[in-house]
Symmetry: C2
């Protein structure tokens, strides 16, 4: 009897595994935290607006972890209320991307992390200034030394710590992932029908893998051109190859209910509108209202566990800390 | 033997109580949370930038709970990067203030909470717009109904919830409070000497009570006039009584190491400079460097338990949520 149960269990497990393996989207794996102290340091840095010239903008300003790792704006607000050129991609599950930024110009999270700090349109500081700020704060220096064994704060260490924190920002346990793992009740009939339609329509040609995206560059506007007012030209800016014009990194669909508005220019305000546009310009399909509703229902099942940690408390500046200059 | 110990304990306790009662500053009491669901709702609202026109500025932007409940700027940054007229006071222990704002123009935290949302120089929304945003988000409406028994979100409910959250933001257990409660080792000799000098110099005439301030209005510039470039005129703006010109609410000194820069205009960048100015213009004293150091050492012992909760996750907007207008 006991061996029968064991065999039955083995068959079930194997069926589940096979089932999930046949799907183009795979479950998000929980983060494995190799260095908790580095993650804690990175978390503080991620929330610290003193990395900006103004003392007002932190990584979390535009990649707000209370709001799906985005700012939910078409394009971001930078130093001196400058209008950003592109929609801020979510930081959630960004460790699963083949590269960072819409055009993939940073190969790693660590490469990416240094960019906005010194970008005059974003945080508008310099690496030198940001390091002076951190170096002037004994609690940061002590924490940095514990992590990196040096009391000289460097860009390499700072960006490494931010990246280590960002690597923890994966969102497992969505209802869709539960379904993938064999819990057939995790999705409603409508959501499941939406997933089937999503696959049958060819959406999974680009939105596949654990992040349901993030792993290829694709042209925006395959069947019909995409009419954009945004100046962003995509991957060509990196490769200088005209064939890469309007190629963008496919965005993840994980937590997509929280990461509105959509596309690199943020021009699609709703999921319904994003699905409609994608169907038309990428696949040459006009989804009916019922079809669109089904796909949107499926997409909303991709919301996983959101960041789950205490608000970090930042060590105070000292008399020698360079002061923020918000209005210079 | 046992009764001897009991008597000894009773004497010790009574001595401690008498000791603390004799001091002009009393310990911060932990928050008593009457309605946890209301506090949770208020916490989300406090962190929600959708209460602003831009979708970018939340209560937490200028009263950053990672940074002592302030923005650590001279004056705050408002909608469209407007320069605020006054230093953002800390929200920590603000429930202990006799009134809110530097001029006391709001009598309660609830009164205060409505102000910045609709102030064109701060969050630049309107109460009508902010309520439409919340009303369009089913998860907010459900939470609101659970707390207030109505599914019609009102300004009264929203500001009540924010105030309920803010009432939890007290900071007990500073080293100074431990000393007040009888732990003689909680302060160093330098800090204790600083406290004695603080009292002997007359600082406690204004900085007294649980918050070491916040309970009276006092003139800025008693002995010498305070030379300010700030247009803030103080309590006269509320009372219209010329006798109240340059009277400001005495700021709390709790967590003062974290709430730099100082004064209503943020012109004192460091504690040393704030102590020096206060000595001269309020008390007619020129503290020596050694005296200043001692007082600063004491002030740094007033840092208590900082906010200790998980980063709130905000419910997403829906297709009917009014969209933020950061650049209009």
């Amino acid at each position: 009897m006991r061996s029968l149960i064991l065999i039955a269990t083995a068959i079930t497990l194997s069926a589940t595994a096979a089932f999930a393996a046949d799907e183009p989207i795979s479950p998000i794996q929980p983060a494995k935290i190799a260095n908790p102290a580095m993650v804690e340091l990175g978390k503080k840095l991620f929330f610290d607006p003193r990395l900006s010239k103004s003392g007002f903008i932190s990584c979390n300003s535009c990649h707000n972890l209370s709001m799906g790792g985005t700012d939910n704006l078409k394009t971001s607000i930078g130093h001196n209320w400058q209008k950003g050129p592109i929609n801020a991609p979510t930081v959630l599950n960004s460790s699963l991307n083949l590269a960072q930024f819409w055009d993939g110009r940073a190969l790693t999270l660590q490469d990416q992390a240094g960019g906005p700090i010194a970008n005059p349109g974003e945080m508008a500081s310099t690496h030198t200034l940001a390091l002076s700020v951190l170096q002037s704060i004994p609690a940061y220096v002590a924490e940095y030394k514990k992590v990196f064994g040096s009391d000289k704060v460097s860009v390499d260490g700072v960006t490494k710590a931010i990246a280590a924190f960002e690597e923890t920002l994966v969102t497992p346990n969505s209802r869709f992932d539960k379904w993938l793992k064999g819990d057939k009740k995790a999705l409603t009939a409508q959501e499941l029908a939406g997933y089937e339609l999503f696959k049958d329509s060819g959406c999974t040609a680009c939105h596949n893998g654990a992040a349901a995206g993030g792993n290829t560059y694709q042209k925006m506007g395959v069947v019909e051109p995409y009419k954009a007012s945004s100046p962003a030209e995509g991957r060509v800016a990196v490769t200088k190859d005209e064939a890469d014009r309007f190629y963008f990194k496919v965005p993840t669909l994980r937590n997509v209910e929280m990461t509105y508005p959509y596309f690199h220019d943020g021009e699609a305000a709703t999921l319904a509108s994003a699905v409609d546009t994608m169907g038309r310009i990428q696949l040459g399909k006009k989804f009916s209202t019922e079809e669109n509703d089904k796909i949107v229902a499926f997409l909303k099942s991709l919301t996983g566990d959101q960041p789950d940690f205490k608000l970090p408390i930042l060590p105070p500046s000292t008399d020698s800390t360079p002061q923020p200059k918000p209005f210079d």
